[in-house]
Each structure stands twice: as C-alpha cells, then as structure tokens.
C-alpha cells in the first residue's frame, strides 16, 4: 500500500455515499450491499474528502479544527486504507 501524494484530491468513491446518521451518532458510508459505520476520526477525514481539497489541505484543516499537530501520517495511512477498500478515489 503506497502512501498517497499530499497533493492528491481524495473523493468519496463513485456509487458510495457518506452521510451523518443521527440514529447511529456517526458518519456512515453507504454502498449497494451494506454500510460502514465510521468512527469519529474516520468520519472527520472522510467528510473532508470532496475531490477539491488536497490531502495536505485536509490535514491542515483537521489540525486546525482539533487544535492538534502532526496528524499527517495518520491521515495519510487512513486515506491509503480507504483507497484500497474503494471507499475513496482520487480526482485529477
């Protein structure tokens, strides 16, 4: 699993939908045969993957929002995993 480039623009994969579900108090990723309930960090990352922002933008936004630093490696690892699972895809 290769590290995604910080300039890449991840987006929710085609045919999938991310939405907040109040009943589950979580972001869920919906696809034809199921649903993945995301934990809060995965939800925070995925909800910023709009195909416009770069990975670097997303990391910066998360660090700013949560008042943290050094999130780059963790976010990058999650995005790599989500790409592998076809939850995310990269936009040019």
């Amino acid at each position: 699993m290769s590290e995604p480039d910080t300039k890449c623009r991840p987006a929710i994969a085609h045919g999938m939908r991310l939405q907040w579900e109040a009943a589950q108090e979580a972001h869920v990723l919906l696809y034809p045969e199921g649903m993945v309930k995301l934990n809060s960090s995965a939800g925070a990352i995925m909800s910023r993957c709009d195909g416009v922002r770069t990975l670097a933008d997303i990391v910066a936004d998360l660090e700013r929002t949560y008042g943290l630093t050094g999130l780059g490696a963790d976010v990058s690892a999650f995005v790599a995993l989500a790409l592998e699972k076809h939850w995310l895809e990269l936009r040019e």
């Binding site: 085609h14 045919g15 939908r17 579900e21 589950q24 919906l30 696809y31 034809p32 199921g34 649903m35």
Partner: protein
Amino acid sequence: MSTGTPIGHALSAPNAAAAAAAGAPIPAGAARPQPGPPLWLLLELTYRCPLHCVFCYNPTEFARVAAELPTAEWIRVLSEARALGAVQLGLSGGEPLVRDDLETIVAAAHDLGYYINLITSGVGMTEARIKALKAAGLDHIQLSFQDSTREMNDFLSSTRTFELKSQVAALIRAYDYPMVLNVVLHRLNIDHVGEILAMAQALGAQYVELANTQYYGWAWLNREQLLPSRAQLERAEAVTQRFRERVGARMQIYFVVPDYFETRPKACMSGLGSVFLAIAPDGTAMPCHAARMLPGLDLPNVRHAGIRAIWYDSPAFNRFRGESWMKEPCRSCPERSRDFGGCRCQAYLLTGDADNADPVCDLSPHHGLVMAAVARAESAVAAAPRERVLRFRDHRSSIKVVAGEPPGG
C-alpha cells in the same frame, strides 16, 4: 464491517449487509437486549412478476396474498422507518418495475435520505423509466438473472434474454450506474458458470454475484432438483477462480457457496429482529424474507400498526431476539453470539421446529438431514437427470399450493 460480499438480491438473504450494519454482538446470556434500529429496510413492492423462476424465495402461497399497499402507505412506511434510523433501502418484489408508482416511491425515499437499491430483472426497464428513476434519486441498480432453464438457455445462446439484458445493461451504464449482475446458481446451470461469466463480461458487468440458491419458498419445493453436487460446486469455483485471474480487477466476482456444504450456519440477518425489516406487498412486516412460513409467528401488518411498535414491541419481532429461545446445542454453544443459531426458517423447514439449531451446523443432531440431501444430490447428478419435475413460480401453481394440491410440473 462489511465482508465485501454483494448481497441484497431478491433471491438471497442480505446477510453481508446485515452483518456490515450490525453493532456489537449481543452479550452472552442477555435475555432480551434493547434492539438497535432497523437499519436495513426491504420493500417487496409486489409479488407480480413476468418471470417464473424455480428458485424464487417468494412464498409459494403468494396467490393468497391480499392487495398491494397503495403509494401513500409505502411512503408512510418509508417515513416511519427512516425516523427510527433505517437508511439502506432495497426495492424488490416480484418485479418492482411492474409498479407504475416506482418513481414516486424512489423520489420520496431519496428525499428522506435513504440509499436506494433497485433489485430488478430488467423486464420493463426503458430509457424513459431509468431516466425518471435517476432523476428521482435512485442510487443503485442490481440486474438479476431469472429462470434457470428457458431464460438461461436463451442467454447462453445469445438470443432473446441476452438481447434484453444487453439493452438494460447499456442503459445502466449510460445512466452512470455501476453494472451489477446477480446470477442464482443451482444444479441445472452451475456447470455453465464459465459461459455465464463470459456473457456477463460481454454485458460490461463490473460486479457479478454468483449466488447459490438458498432453499426457501419455490426453491425449497424444487430442492431435490436444484441442489448441486460437491463436484459441481468445486468445478464451478475453480472455473470462477481462473476467470478472475484472467480478467483481473475489471470484473469483481463473488461466489456464494450454498450453506448445505458448510459445517457452520450463516449468521442469518445478524439475528432476527436485529437490523433487518422486510415489508411484503400486502404490508406484512417480517424479520426476514421468508419468515412468513414460520408457524405461530403472528406477523404484524403496517396497515394496522406503526413501524416503531412493530419493530420494538410486536411479539413476532421479539420472538427470536436475544438467546432465551435457543435450545441445545445452541444454548450453551460458545459460537451462539456469532451465528445466532443460524437460520430459523431452515431449522423449521428441515426439523419442523424453528427453535432448533440450523441443521447446517454439524453440532446439530439433525445435521444428517443436510448430509442426506447432499448425498441425494450426488447420486442424482451421477445418474444424469432424465426427468425434471420443476415447479415454476407462477400464479396457477401458487393457487394449487394454497388449495393444498401438488403444484405440478
């Protein structure tokens, strides 16, 4: 988390989906845990269908089922279930396209925030309809395969059925949906799995589910003719594997083994009343597609009760929650919180008691019934079928079932 297996076909139980949606396993010894929401809603909009599949799971008594719910009632069901937390929506039947209010139902579901999957044979799909469905917010289409003999022969010989599927597949791709094909396998078509995959590729399928028949409804009636032999199954799996290696990631193929060949049961619906709610055409609410057959289960109807009361309070939906209903060997089994004793309908069909362990489990004292069915399949395949007494799912046969007569060939 998902197993990644696409299910949700009208003809197979959405176990993977339910498993994906399930929360933490029920703690051992819990008598009646507070259930979570009915995350997965399936509306069987109609039992009407232009096809007559021998493996259909629809109840053999469907001819007795009263009038279908009107549009406004379906929309009320959608709204009430959504308020409880339902989010995955399957629209199936019968053939859902025979309802001319399908677009209205889809639009209402979309506005409520459902993720909507249409499970269709493609019969009745036109450009005007797919365009309207897309505009209404339909998220996904699963094109299903039908009749094992006539339609499949037709498909494999590139005639009428192949033409229909090609047209519908082209529409699905043109309207930017992933092309997902579901084929139900059984003794009479499993040897053609190579040709089936080649045809699926010719249709531009990106995902193919090869789902072995599950034995409920019409399929149960035809089980002695449909259950494949182990050798057939192994050959089909090997052919599928070679095909996978050849086409690579362009086509994802899922092969669902029939549970008769397993030694542990499926975690059916992640436990009845856990995440899955199905509504039959007449408004009967069911904790699984086939639950109508279970004796003594007084299934509520959405015409008379709200979804909240049905899901949380009705005796039928509480009947198999928790573990207090279990008998040995399930009751003391360390695996009971993983598989919930398997399928209640299969336990009932094979042993006559829905509280028994699913006989697929080799810890069940009735496992011999499953092995015997497999053994009969072995000898039937070895003897080569001279005679096929298949009961096609049609109205005439269903009326006979209702009347207590043999449904005929």
